[in-house]
Amino acid sequence: MKEDCELLLSYTRRGDVPSLSALVRRHAVWMQAFLRGLLPTVADAEDAFQETWIRVIKAAGSYRGGSVKAYLATVARSAAIDRLRRQGRTISLDADEGGGASALEDMPSAVPTPGERFESAATAEEVQNAVRTLPDGPRQVLLMRIEGEMSFKEIATELDVPIGTALTWMRTATMKLRRLLGGEECMKTGN
C-alpha cells in the first residue's frame, strides 16, 4: 500500500486523481471527527471537509514533507476557522472563552448529570457534545492531538503559542472531559 506522502506527491506532481481519491478515503473518518469537534453541525463539518480537500488541491505544492496527517489537520483547522468566521463566529485561543463553562451549564440535555454519566457518556453524540463544550484552546489542542496525531511541538507552532501552553490546554481538556464524562466509569465502558 502506498504511503500518504506518495499518494499526495503523485497527485501534486503528476496530477494522478485516483491517488488523491485514495488519500481522501483514507483520511475521511478522522478528518470528519476532527471537524465535527470544531464546528457546530455535521453539515458544517461535511462542507469544511470538502473545503479542506479543495485547499489541498489548489495549494498542491505547499506540502513540504513530514506527516501528511498533521498537514491535513492544519489545513482542516484553517478551513473550519474560516467557515466559522463567515458565520460570524470565531475560535478564540483563550482557554476560558468560546463555549467553556457557561456553554456547558447551558446544555442540560447534552451534558449528563452525575447519576446518568455512566451510560450516556458511552454514546458518540454525548462525547461530541462534551468536546464541543470545551474552551476553544483546549478543544483545538485535544482534537489536533488525538485526531490529527500532531506532536505538541507541531500544535504549539500551528496555534502560535508556547509549547507549555499547548501542554496545559491538553491537560485542561482531559480534566474537563473526565469530569463531564463521568471519570473512570465511562472509560471502562469505552474499552
Partner: protein
C-alpha cells in the same frame, strides 16, 4: 498520564464511531482535482512553450558558434568581414579581369562554406592575380 491516554483513546473512538467512512462530497472533490490537474498540465505546457523558443534559439546559436569555432579556430572579426566584402565588390565592379569567372556571389558562398582564413586567402589571391 496513563489515565489521560485512556480517556483520549476513549474520546477518539467515540468521536469516530458514527462517522461514515465514505467521504462527503467525494465526487465534487474529484471533479475539482481533475480540473486542477488539467490547469496544472496546461500551465506546464505554457511554461514549456515560453521557454522553448529562446531555448531553441540559444541551442542554434551554440551549434553555429561551435561550427565556426571548429572550422576557423576563432570567430571572424567584423572588420575583416566588412573588408572582405568591400574587396569582393571592388574586384567585381572595378576590375572584372581580377576575379574573372568567379562571381561575387560564388565567392560569398565559398566564404560561407569554407574555413574563413582559406576564403580570405583565396579572395586575396584572386585579387592579386
Amino acid at each position: 498520564m496513563h489515565e489521560d491516554w485512556k480517556l483520549t483513546a476513549f474520546v477518539k473512538d467515540r468521536l469516530e464511531e458514527d462517522v461514515s467512512d465514505t467521504p462527503p462530497h467525494l465526487q465534487d472533490i474529484e471533479r475539482a482535482a481533475v480540473s486542477a490537474s488539467f490547469a496544472l498540465a496546461a500551465a506546464s505546457r505554457s511554461r514549456r512553450r515560453t521557454w522553448g523558443i529562446p531555448l531553441v534559439a540559444a541551442s542554434l546559436a551554440v551549434v553555429f558558434g561551435s561550427f565556426v569555432a571548429l572550422n576557423t579556430g576563432r570567430s571572424p572579426e567584423p572588420e575583416q568581414t566588412v573588408a572582405c566584402v568591400i574587396d569582393l565588390l571592388c574586384a567585381s565592379d572595378g576590375n572584372a579581369d581580377g576575379i574573372e569567372a568567379d562571381s561575387v556571389a560564388e565567392k560569398l558562398l565559398a566564404w560561407q562554406d569554407a574555413p574563413y582564413e582559406h576564403a580570405i586567402a583565396g579572395l586575396v589571391a584572386n585579387k592579386v592575380n
